[in-house]
């Protein structure tokens, strides 16, 4: 009998897809992360009271804030790259450069924000 298939979830992650595949995975993580955040946030605001405060306590933790800022910023910048390439396919041959630009924008902005969040959280 033939082997069923050899592309389970973790095998798939091992494929050497380089830059764009990484951004794809991070884009999904970012989107899912924001989805979880927004849902819990709305629930918290809606419920308020003890339950609401408990949930608030989770996402106001600095670790969660860094995570959610990562999600939003990366998803946003990467999404803009995808949108531009999709609407102007003639730019697609320059996709490698597009990814460099993306990281060049993302890394400083995120570092700065993460630094601010950390100093605020650990300083107080």
């Amino acid at each position: 009998m033939e082997l069923k298939r050899n592309a389970g979830f973790f095998t798939a992650l091992k494929y050497k897809g380089q830059g764009p595949m990484l951004t794809f995975i991070l884009h999904r993580i970012g989107g899912l992360g924001m989805g979880i955040f927004v849902t819990t946030h709305i629930l918290a605001s809606f419920l308020s009271g003890d339950v609401g405060n408990f949930i608030n306590g989770i996402y106001e933790h600095w670790l969660f804030q860094i995570f959610i800022f990562f999600c939003a910023l990366f998803h946003g910048i990467n999404g803009l790259r995808i949108t531009l390439l999709d609407l102007f396919p003639s730019l697609i041959p320059h996709q490698r450069e597009a990814i460099w630009v993306e990281w060049a924008v993302f890394i400083p902005v995120f570092s700065f924000a993460a630094f601010t969040i950390l100093t605020t959280a650990l300083g107080s």
Partner: protein, 235 residues
């Protein structure tokens, strides 16, 4: 130089589970990975199974995953991969034996897209060729290069998730016909592409473009198809 070749092995007649086998052999930097496999098969273990035919990158038989990335074994030179080379079958298709996978889902997807020229209008009155300008011919030149090796489709996360997905190769073929000024079935093909297992499953991961041994700008072709579906512009 001495090369350590690690090869995915699975023989359905004997094995229950797949394994890797390691071979050490002398190789020139300009040797193809295919040459190494041939030598292993010739001298060490004749039961090693893989497909190959033209051996210079135009027939598309020997699509394999080499050091983690899809490529044709006959276009992969030892000097580009170094002393440790891992060869595995392409992902997302059933492994029949060693490096040979079941290509049926791949070709089934290809056939779904009406992969043939359709023009039922009468021929030109003189019986000669249908005229086409140099620019019109150039429009779909890139996607005529496809050799159906499956490097692209089997590097696509959407295809790994489910082999119902048409896959990049089928879309490259769709592009080749949709943007051919002589073809008349663009609309039918766009409708096939618009199905849920169609072009919506492309998430611009670019694995296909980077795996393509013919250097087709696959993601660009797919992008043009997506835009054509919205704007209707086939120029």
């Amino acid at each position: 130089m001495e090369v350590t070749l690690k090869v995915f092995r699975f023989n359905p007649d004997v094995d229950k589970k797949w394994r890797y086998e390691t071979y050490k052999l002398e190789a020139d930097p300009t040797d193809r990975v295919l040459d190494l496999l041939e030598r292993v098969k010739g001298y060490t273990d004749g039961s090693l199974a893989f497909r190959r035919s033209c051996a210079h990158g135009v027939c598309g038989s020997d699509a394999l995953r080499i050091n983690g990335k899809n490529s044709l074994a006959c276009k992969a030179l030892v000097r580009d991969y170094g002393e440790k080379i891992t060869v595995e079958p392409i992902m997302g298709l059933k492994v029949i034996k060693d490096l040979i996978v079941d290509m049926k889902p791949f070709f089934d997807n290809y056939k779904k897209i009406l992969p043939f020229f359709i023009n039922d209008s009468p021929l030109p009155a003189d019986g000669k060729e249908r005229r086409q300008s140099i620019e019109q011919r150039e429009r779909f030149d890139d996607t005529t290069k496809c050799i159906l090796c499956a490097c692209c489709t089997t590097s696509c996360p959407s295809f790994w998730a489910s082999d119902d997905y048409l896959g990049p190769a089928a879309m490259v073929t769709a592009h080749r016909f949709i943007f051919d000024s002589r073809d008349e079935s663009a609309s039918e093909r766009l409708h096939i592409l618009s199905e849920t297992s169609g072009i919506a499953r492309c998430h611009t991961v670019f694995n296909c473009t980077m795996a393509c041994p013919r250097e087709i700008q696959i993601t660009k072709a797919i992008g043009e198809l997506k835009l054509a579906m919205v704007t209707g512009n086939l120029e």
